[in-house]
Symmetry: C2
Subunit: 333 residues, 2 copies
DNA sequence: AAAAAATATGGTAACGTTACCATATTCAGC
DNA sequence: GCTGAATATGGTAACGTTACCATATTTTTT
């Protein structure tokens, strides 16, 4: 592979001049530029960004560390981030932690070694250490979707407490009084916040919370299935269920069907996270839709502007979530 | 940030010795190793892989260039690739071309500059040039999902011709004779192959092909909608429709519903690409399911083994697709 | 006990680029 | 015609690591 030196030799200039042509930086006469461009063309020269990065101390690469890109919510977040990155001439490295702190730690370490300029982090757990570590190493961080306590960091997320409150109010408004909530890991802020919002709405309505109806598990279908089964064994069983994400909802739905219960006739089901209209033939679930694409896009944009030198204190950008009432919720039978 | 030199100084050894400890290469006495590890710990040393890459000429990074990660089929492919990469201690850069050759060219160029070790490519178009360019530049390439003519390259894909034949046979077996096919861009191999398989099945059954029922468009919902509308205006209208991917199917379904036609009562609908069970409450579409995750995983594995030095002629790995009959197909009314 | 192999460590240079500084030439303003 | 700014180009070194080679010591083999 030809190097900048080969191009320089062929064009009869110094390597630095070639660099100037390639990067459109500094002064180069039109005539020299032409000769250099000719040489580049003739040799098929491709600049080596590894060398460039070593010297300039920036890689024009950011990473998105999330839990599971397979979840359409995260897919959209990722796509938003990739679009923003690409637009700013950055590349995006994608990492799936599957909610495991250990996997997260491994990835973060590799990303530090890779000298990525910045990291979009969906923290596997609500602990400040990983974020601190990154900041300490001089990497810009934007936290996505979840809160991290005790640390100053840009954050882009939705207000899960408010959203859960709205969704619970919707169920209360339909006349439900026994409402179960199936949530994620208790030490993930969104899982906790959604339960908080749920409690607030119940309290507000003067409905006592039955702790047997408040379950923490995981943000996946299996957990949703299990939690639903557990809840169904309480008596009297709830007339409505709130799933803290789309996978939990699907798992819960399966458990309900297996138990011979129809939605919404026998029981109402509402969830967090909508599915894109491109995927669903006939949308059925009542949901709180978070602007996933926009979250990814804005988080990446924020990161890039930090990398562009924007100063100022860390901000928390709260995006609005929207409740979409569909056919899975109805007044209790 | 401390460098290898700082660690060396602190441990009282040469930088190269630190390198040996970090990479577990060459000989290091237990005692020296301990001292070096202590120094690394004390300084919080993080190796710089940019420098490492420049020297060793490998970045331990591969890229996946696909059309749109937002399509669950590609999401799964990507997840498979990421898992395989991660397992082999590689990172994955993700790029969305949206089927645009120009975007693809831009990405490939950046990836070359980034010195990625290998590229998993879902070619936007069936042209050999981009693949040749990459190979010429010394980058390993594995082509995913689509055929590229006139070039020797590892390929992982399904047999679209056979799969389309099977799906068409299924419809023929139900008694359909007027079957439409809504496909993707004509110069994308899968779009072409699916039409080819469709033709073969019809021919085999002695059913003449009505060219008005063979449509090429795009692999997206909008195109599916449009094509379906066009097809519905032919008379007599088809009794079954074959969509060349899941997005086309959704678009077609919308058009059908808008036209007041019920599936499968008024018209049967079958498609390529299944949706993961985690996403769909009640699977409805008859589909040919391609092993998306496995495709991504195997393609990445192949790439890594090439990077590991495996020689031998380029292979074409054909994965089996599976027909899943559900409720969207039935005998013509 | 000598020779060969394994273990342990280090010096030097190079990977390909750009930051930094220096110098020469041209141009504008008065 | 002189001065200062703008334009144009280059030399040197450095980014942080590892490849390559050299050397010294210890262990094994015969």
């Amino acid at each position: 592979m030809p190097t900048i030196r080969d191009v320089a030799r062929r064009a009869g200039v110094a390597p630095i001049t070639v660099s100037r042509v390639v990067n459109s930086s500094g002064y180069v006469s039109p005539e020299t530029r032409r000769r250099v461009e000719e040489a580049i063309e003739a040799l098929g020269y491709v600049p080596n960004s590894v060398a460039r990065s070593l010297r300039s101390k920036q890689t024009r690469t950011i990473a998105l560390v999330l839990t599971d890109m397979t979840n359409p919510f995260w897919t959209l977040v990722a796509r938003g981030a990739e679009d923003a990155a690409s637009q700013g001439n950055f590349n995006l490295i994608l990492c799936n932690t599957d909610e495991s702190e250990e996997k997260q730690a491994r990835y973060l370490n590799v990303l530090l070694e890779k000298q990525v300029d910045g990291i979009l982090l969906v923290p596997a757990r609500s602990r400040p250490e990983p974020v601190r570590l990154l900041q300490q190493q001089g990497v810009e961080v934007v936290v996505l979707d979840r809160r991290v306590p005790e640390v100053q960091v840009d954050t882009v997320r939705c207000d899960s407490v408010a959203a859960a409150r709205d969704l619970t109010r919707h169920l209360l408004g339909l006349g439900h009084r026994r409402i179960a909530i199936l949530s994620g890991p208790p030490d993930v802020s969104t899982a906790a916040d959604r339960v908080t919002g749920y409690r607030q709405a119940l309290e507000e309505a003067g409905v006592p919370v039955d702790e047997r109806l408040v379950l923490f598990g995981g943000f996946n279908q299996g957990a949703g299935f299990q939690m639903m089964r557990t809840v169904l064994s309480t008596s009297p069983r709830p007339t409505a269920v709130l799933a803290a994400n789309n996978f939990i909802a699907i798992g819960a739905f399966r458990a309900l069907r297996e138990a011979g219960l129809a939605v919404p006739v026998d029981i109402s089901l509402a969830a967090f996270d909508d599915l894109p209209a491109t995927l669903v033939l006939e949308p059925f679930l009542t949901v709180v839709a978070q602007p996933a694409y926009s979250m990814g896009r804005q988080a990446a944009a924020r990161l890039l502007s930090r990398l562009g030198g924007e100063a100022g204190p860390p901000q928390e950008i709260l995006l609005p979530a929207e409740i979409i009432v569909r056919r899975s919720t109805a007044p209790p039978g």
